[in-house]
């Protein structure tokens, strides 16, 4: 009995996800797509016509499964462990170095890159976020994204605010004007570790902090990082421009709050198509780059977004490597890049597709400018995904404290980040 009951835990790590197998069916590929649109169903409907085109061209059938973000990393890990599962996958580009370390992905050396159109096709910043420096990339970029500040135009006008804030001080001031009954200045995704950690990175850069030193060792609880994280949490704890309820948001409720006019501002990546799906017309919102501190802290960098994006990788265990690479080539072709990025509101990862008028809309222009000038890649170290979860979870706890009315002090932030750092070493 004890044995039976214990297995749940004792063998968690031992059990691999069986997933779909591609064995014996070289003319069929299994593709795990990440969830880019407003819903899984939306993504399936978006991708299927393209996959049909690919089948017509090559005779290779692609079975797609759209995996929610909450499961994707676990599923990839299981596939890497068991050597079974999909042939081609989408990965969050920040995981590239972590997954590269498992040695389960096909490295895109020059010869392999040549098979998908060559290295020079890709936007250099996006390709740089596809693996550790000095190694062949573990993936190629598929969709490019950046963070921006979305704001509700009508709420701004009603409050007499004419231009979007460019500094955090202005954002707080504006947020206070916009916070009134049933309406909040800003919405955050406080219980989502990934979102939290992305902001930790950007704020950290602005406050002169680094999360890993040059040797790849974690440096979480430096004064710069503590100040950076505290600045972000204080938007709720001190400035009170964020609804305390946001501390339990982890299913994109902050996007829904913005689209439903419960919040006036939102920091997000390519949210336009999502707003539209939730019934908010493009005329209602404006977009601006993420703010900076009014006075740059010592060592602070001019960075206001991570180089965000989705990469496409091929598992070494595929039985149809050529077909898989053919599929990657297809998905990164000019025509597909235009169609898919247009639908998702993201930016093409290949230079030639960026000229398309579809990417000259205000939202894409801002995202493109940020990517081209003030975005930096998250540290490309094998422990990156642990950083996201540990620091992101620490911030979730800090938000929970702030929401519960407890003061969030520098010492507490330092302690939480310190504990997270210790866990990296164990």
């Amino acid at each position: 009995m004890a044995v039976a009951a214990l297995l749940t835990t004792a063998s968690i790590a031992a059990c691999g996800d069986s997933g779909d197998s591609s064995e014996g069916a070289a003319k069929t590929l299994t593709y795990w797509a990440s969830n880019q649109g407003a819903s899984i169903e939306f993504d399936k409907q978006t991708l299927q016509p393209e996959l049909d085109k690919f089948e017509q061209q090559t005779g290779i059938k692609v079975n797609v499964e759209v995996v929610p973000w909450s499961d994707l990393l676990n599923r990839l890990l299981a596939a890497a462990t068991s050597g079974k599962g999909p042939d081609v996958v989408n990965i969050g580009n920040t995981w590239s170095a972590s997954l590269q370390a498992t040695n389960a992905l096909v490295p895109f050396d020059d010869a392999t890159l040549a098979k998908v159109g060559g290295k020079d096709r890709f936007v250099p910043a996006a390709l740089a976020a596809a693996g550790a420096p000095g190694k062949p990339p573990a993936a190629v970029p598929l969709y490019s994204l950046a963070y921006a500040l979305y704001y509700n135009k009508k709420m701004f006008t009603d409050a007499g605010v004419t231009t979007p804030p460019t500094t955090w001080e202005e954002l707080v001031e504006t947020g206070k004007k916009l916070t009134k009954s049933g309406q909040w200045g800003l919405a955050v995704e406080g219980a989502n570790p990934s979102e939290n950690s992305h902001h930790a990175f950007t704020f950290g850069q602005q406050w002169g902090g680094e999360w890993f030193d040059s040797a790849g060792k974690p440096t979480f609880d430096t004064p710069q990082n503590v100040a950076a994280v505290k600045r972000y949490i204080d938007l709720m704890a001190v400035d009170k421009i964020v609804n305390p309820s946001n501390a339990e948001y982890a299913q994109n409720q902050s996007v829904a709050d913005f689209a439903n006019r419960k919040a006036a501002m939102l920091l997000w990546q390519a949210a336009g198509s999502n707003f539209k799906a939730q019934g908010m017309s493009p005329e209602e919102w404006g977009i601006a780059p993420v703010p900076f501190p009014a006075t740059t802290p010592p060592g602070g960098k001019k960075v206001n977004s991570m180089v965000a994006g989705i990469n496409m990788a091929v598992f070494k265990h595929t039985e149809n490597l050529d077909g898989s690479l053919e599929f990657v080539k297809f998905m990164t072709s000019d025509a597909e890049q235009v169609i898919l990025n247009k639908t998702y509101g993201s930016l093409p990862s290949v230079k030639t597709a960026n000229a398309d008028p579809a990417f000259q809309a205000p939202e894409q222009k801002v995202l493109g400018e940020v990517l081209g000038t003030t975005a930096a890649p998250l540290p490309q170290v094998p422990e990156e995904s642990q950083f996201e979860t540990l620091v992101g979870t620490a911030m979730k706890e800090l938000f929970a404290d702030a929401a519960g009315g407890k003061p969030v002090t520098e010492a507490q932030v330092k302690e939480k980040l310190g504990v997270a750092q210790q866990k990296m070493g164990s």
Binding site: A2, T9, A10, A13, C15, L77, N103, Q386, A403, K423
Partner: protein
């Protein structure tokens, strides 16, 4: 089973008397003595494949430095000896301290959840013991949580516990029990433990109810009649007739509930979306976090093995004590 067959002096037709040839008799005996083992083979093989082998693999993993660099090919993982266990039991380090905290949370959670589930189950079973109109309906209703898929049920609870839009706060507000302008959180902070406990009891008590109801069917009505004649009231009957008669059921029921609750993974995982608040950080989800989140499967396995040993010891002691008590009784 054989003991309940037809009584009387009739000799079973298929059974030869002592008059058969000796060799045939011997073969028969041999065949019969092998048969039970033969029938056990499928179960034993499945038990090995599903339980024992993965467990041994878990033990082996706990001795390796199994991180993301080695999960693709375990043979490359360096042998770590008892290093993972040292980290697990180093209660001064962040990892050990958090594990110990999680252990105490789980112990409290298990005690309260099993206690409440058992009490609710007993109360419902006792009150539904005598037939009355609507009894079948109530029985069915009480068993609903047990019949629902765990994930669906817990997701529904997650919606209900949401601070701004959840049913729980809405109902409490309507009753005037909370300040509607500043409603409490249930899924983060201190209340998360209470929320977890509520869902757990809601989920487990029907099982206690079912077992105890079955157990009560075996209590002879004469015992109640006799005690009623002796003037025993309800509580006296409960204490001196019902509970002693339910002892064998309780022995198994409490053990099973304890093991299920202590190892409960689905409830916190679905309720809190993978990263539980510190106040409700149950051990199974803590181990999951320690292995999957930090990609340190060796450490996660070491914690699992420690948990396995702990539960084995608890189970052994429990069975020893309860069996001895029954022998003395």
């Amino acid at each position: 089973m054989a003991t309940t067959t037809a009584p009387g002096p009739v000799r079973p037709a298929g059974r030869p008397a002592q008059d058969g040839p000796p060799s045939r008799r011997k073969r028969r005996t041999v065949r019969r003595s092998y048969l039970p083992y033969l029938l056990l083979v499928p179960a034993a093989l499945l038990e090995l494949g599903i339980h024992v082998v993965p467990m041994l693999v878990g033990v082996w993993m706990s001795l390796l430095e199994l991180t993301q660099f080695h999960i693709r090919d375990w043979s490359t993982a360096p042998f770590a000896g008892f290093e993972n266990y040292r980290v697990t039991f180093d209660f001064d380090s962040a990892t050990g301290k958090d594990l110990l905290h999680s252990f105490w949370v789980t112990a409290l959670y298990t005690t309260l959840s099993v206690g409440f589930s058992w009490m609710l189950g007993l109360a419902a079973a006792v009150f539904l013991q005598r037939p009355f109109k609507g009894r079948a309906l109530l029985r069915t209703l009480f068993l609903t949580p047990y019949a629902l898929p765990v994930y669906t049920a817990v997701i529904t609870w997650t919606f209900m516990f949401q601070r701004d839009t959840g049913l729980v706060n809405h109902a409490l507000d309507q009753l005037g029990l909370i300040d509607g302008a500043n409603p409490p959180f249930w899924l983060i902070g201190e209340n998360s433990f209470v929320a977890l406990l509520i869902v757990s009891v809601w989920k487990s008590w029907p099982f206690a109810f079912l077992c105890l109801m079955a157990g009560l069917q075996n209590v002879p009505p004469e015992l109640y009649e006799a005690s009623a004649i002796d003037g025993a009231n309800f509580w006296r009957r409960l204490r001196d007739v019902t509970l002693p008669m339910l002892r064998p059921v309780n022995q198994v029921l409490l053990l099973v509930l304890f093991l299920w609750t202590f190892n409960d993974f689905n409830t916190p995982y679905v309720l809190f979306g993978g990263s539980a608040p510190r106040q409700a950080d149950l051990i199974s989800i803590h181990i999951y976090q320690s292995s999957f989140v930090t990609w340190n499967f060796g450490l996660g396995s070491a914690m699992s093995v420690a948990l396995l040993l702990f539960l084995l010891v608890v189970t052994a002691v429990y069975l020893l004590v309860t069996n001895r008590r029954r022998e003395h009784a």
